[in-house]
């Protein structure tokens, strides 16, 4: 009995010692913002991939020469001042004072030129811009010139492009990495420093405040203005299960969810410690994409029939449900953006099934089933294909819907094989509005045949208009060219816009200062 008691006492003391030794001392209080992003951070090179999570990572770590403000205007960011020569062939850019990389070395124009070159090798708008660039001329470590072959209105828009791929500035040694190889050095000059040693895939990515960062003096606006960091540390927690993420928010284990699913908003609204906030007023656009290589969609008339068969409301109701979070928008350009127009779309997208059937008859549609790819694992896309199938069938099409996970769809859409041999006719997806603000930026409007995105539309007229858009510098003329592209899109549809939808961040009430911007950013955010 004595032995047992002694053993018990010794065990309790040993356990207590283990607990004391293994529990770290309380750290100095620092404000830590814990966020569940829309995806786990897997790739940390925002130029190598167009994945949105890598783009968001880019905004934490890197800075940009220009940035888009809340009104959609492009404003200098790393650039202090810029001048455009009278002949519009020379852009002279001067960097702000005090810009430094996370390792303390100054940001130089050599770094910027190398970064622009790497970005432009991957980004379609960058490639378009480089088509106009004759040369870069480094004047001194703070000033460089872009020398153009001919005038273009693309330069500022491209360098201030808000979404993937964003022209982030990297040190020259990093920017000289082959664009098709992922970078291994994560030194940036942005408002946060990436803690590579604390990055655990499937667990968390950690960013700490960059103490050297010198924000602009202007107030923050969209992605532009002063990037003032008000928390010491931001942790992106990887919680793949939506319900668990919401439970973690309700329990106060995390402070913010970037994209909770719409069907769980009622649960969040019931909690008095949580609020929903739409941080991206431009939202997103649902899109139906054609593969023009395969019959019957090689015939523009058949594709026009789809424009008659569809209506946007059915798609938006079917997926989002709550009208607070969607808006029918009969425009290829987002509602609320400068180029928004309904021109050419009058009478279309109204589910005029008789007109659709008449067009199919005129086009000689032989009843070939449309192989429609249906993504089943992403809540914001899942119901789109069944709605499309229903409307297409009512409009006179035969439809063969193939269900698959998104990643399988991503691989299959790259195939040019006939639909019966593993190819496809159509699929539905969603674009962040910031990616489709104009005809050059909008990937699905690229109609350059083999060089176009999957679906491979091939139309000289669209390409000629996009080229005119790239060359034009007058805002009024830009608008009329954008309208002309849209009108042409109704004659030669490359894709169909299916309306706009909005998501909301779910925030603990002690989190304030989240900015309205096309990308989720964490400067200006406070945790009280």
């Amino acid at each position: 009995m004595k032995v047992s008691r002694r053993l018990l006492t010794t065990s309790v003391i040993a356990l207590a010692l283990i607990l004391i030794v293994s529990t770290p001392p309380p750290a100095v209080a620092e404000s830590v913002l814990r966020v569940v992003m829309h995806s786990d951070l897997k790739i940390v090179d925002p130029i190598w991939t167009t994945a949105y999570i890598a783009r968001n990572h880019g905004y934490m770590v890197y800075d940009t020469l220009f940035a888009m403000d809340a009104k959609g205007d492009i404003k200098p960011q790393m650039v202090d001042k810029y001048e455009v020569s009278k002949d519009e062939l020379t852009y002279t850019l001067t960097l702000r004072d005090g810009l430094a990389w996370h390792d303390g070395k100054p940001v130089t124009t050599d770094d910027c030129v190398a970064s622009i070159k790497r970005w432009a090798a991957k980004d379609s708008m960058g490639q378009k811009m480089m088509g106009f660039v004759k040369d870069f001329q480094v004047v001194n470590p703070k000033t460089f010139k872009l020398l153009l072959k001919e005038p273009t209105g693309l330069v500022l828009g491209a360098l201030g492009k808000p979404s993937s791929n964003v022209p982030f500035m990297m040190p020259k040694r990093v920017a000289e990495t082959d664009p098709n190889t992922q970078i291994a050095d994560f030194t940036g000059s942005g408002p946060f420093i990436f803690k590579k040693d604390e990055w655990k895939t499937g667990d968390k990515a950690v960013y700490v405040k960059n103490p050297q960062y010198k924000p602009r003096s202007e107030p923050p606006s969209g992605l532009a203005g002063g990037k003032v960091v008000k928390v010491d540390r931001v942790e992106w927690k990887a919680i793949p299960d939506h319900q668990t993420a919401i439970n973690a928010l309700l329990a106060g284990e995390v402070d913010m969810l970037e994209s909770p699913p719409h069907d769980l908003y009622p649960v969040l609204k019931q909690d008095s410690n949580v609020r929903l906030f739409n941080g991206n007023p431009l939202g997103n656009q649902y899109t139906f994409r054609f593969n023009v290589l395969s019959k019957p969609f090689d015939n523009a008339k058949v594709r026009q029939a789809v424009l008659y068969a569809f209506n946007q409301e059915d798609f938006l109701k079917g997926v989002i449900g709550d009208p607070t979070y969607y808006k029918p928008c009969k425009s290829f350009y987002p509602c609320g953006s400068p180029l928004f127009t309904t021109k050419g779309l009058e009478g279309l997208l109204e589910s005029s099934f008789e007109k659709s059937k008449a067009l199919l008859k005129e086009a000689g549609y032989d009843g070939t089933p449309i192989v429609l790819m249906h993504s089943t694992d992403l809540a914001v896309l899942n119901n789109l294909a069944p709605v499309a199938k229903n409307l297409l069938e009512k409009g006179g099409f035969k439809v063969d819907m193939h269900s698959m996970d998104w990643q399988t769809l991503v691989a299959r859409r790259a195939k040019k094989d006939p639909p019966a041999a593993g190819g496809w006719h159509a699929f539905l997806t969603s674009w962040v509005a910031a990616d489709i603000l104009n005809p050059v930026m909008m990937g699905f409007m690229n109609a350059s045949c083999d060089k176009a995105m999957f679906g491979w539309p091939c139309d000289k007229e669209i390409e000629s208009l996009r080229d005119q858009f790239a060359r034009e510098t007058n805002p009024a003329k830009l608008k009329s060219i954008a309208e002309a592209v849209q009108v042409r899109e109704t004659q030669y549809p490359t894709h169909i816009p299916l309306g706009q939808w909005y998501g909301a961040f779910a925030l603990r009430k002690n989190v304030t200062g989240v900015l309205e911007a096309p990308v989720t950013v964490f400067w200006n955010v406070e945790k009280k």
């Binding site: 529990t23 668990t244 060089k451 995105m453």
Partner: protein, 313 residues
Amino acid sequence: MLGYIGRRLLATIPVMAVVALVVFLMLRLTTGDPAAIIAGDNATSQDVAAIRAKLGLDRPIAQQFVIWTARVLRGDFGESFFFKKPVATLIAERIEPTLALATCTIVLAVAMAVPLGVVAAWKRGTWLDRAVMGFSVLGFSIPVFVIGYLLIYLFAIELAWLPVQGYQRFREGFGGFIERLILPSFTLAVIYVALIARITRASVLEVLGADHVRTARAKGLGDAAVLTRHVLRNAAVPIITVIGIGVALLIGGVVVTESVYAIPGLGRLTVDAVLARAYPTVQAVILLFSAVYVLINLLVDLTYTVLDPRIRY
């Protein structure tokens, strides 16, 4: 005995080779393209092709297999397509949470199930027996994720006793480590408690009717001594077998539990890698799981000799 162990270990080589070949082929024959996933939604076909070439995925499958096999034989599982890290490092980072979860679950399951099974057999036909068997049926019937959400709702949201999610490494503090393991372990243990308790009950019932138990009772031994010394030891072989199977089945169970509780373990790594078509990672993880499976079976077989001296290899 050592000869037997050596032979069994040698026999794992062809097993692993077949697993390697099947996994390699299945992954390549499954639709999906890691290059397209890496490139992202806005990438062009040219971008995807360039990345595919960079990763060596444009080579013939046979050539890819030869390259991979040669590397594996040298102990190199390659580099993750996505994470810019060697696959071995990635796996090493994820082993601790899975190992901790599996160990806690098995300890918890055995500690609960064996006494329950013994009591159910000892009190056969009573309300206690029926209650244990009723719980057992429930344990089999309710999906792991439902149990997980119910426990989270009760103990993390309503009572706020335990955290909802996450994992804390042992070296970061024992309190946080164990606190975060309680709910996932209970969640995962339910099905194993059901399984082990049923087998224990059946096995104990069989031994309870044996001659040596009657003799032990006739000698005047108490219930506790009869159960522990004469019944349980003789009923142990099937129980150990089912615990062994349970450990192997845990590999599947941790996938769901790690997702529900956001634990960055091997289960989550496998799911993420499969969804992303991260070939080197999936291949390495499946090889590891196969090796664990084979070794557990060997361990179970060796345990028989300890429990029953009549068994010899």
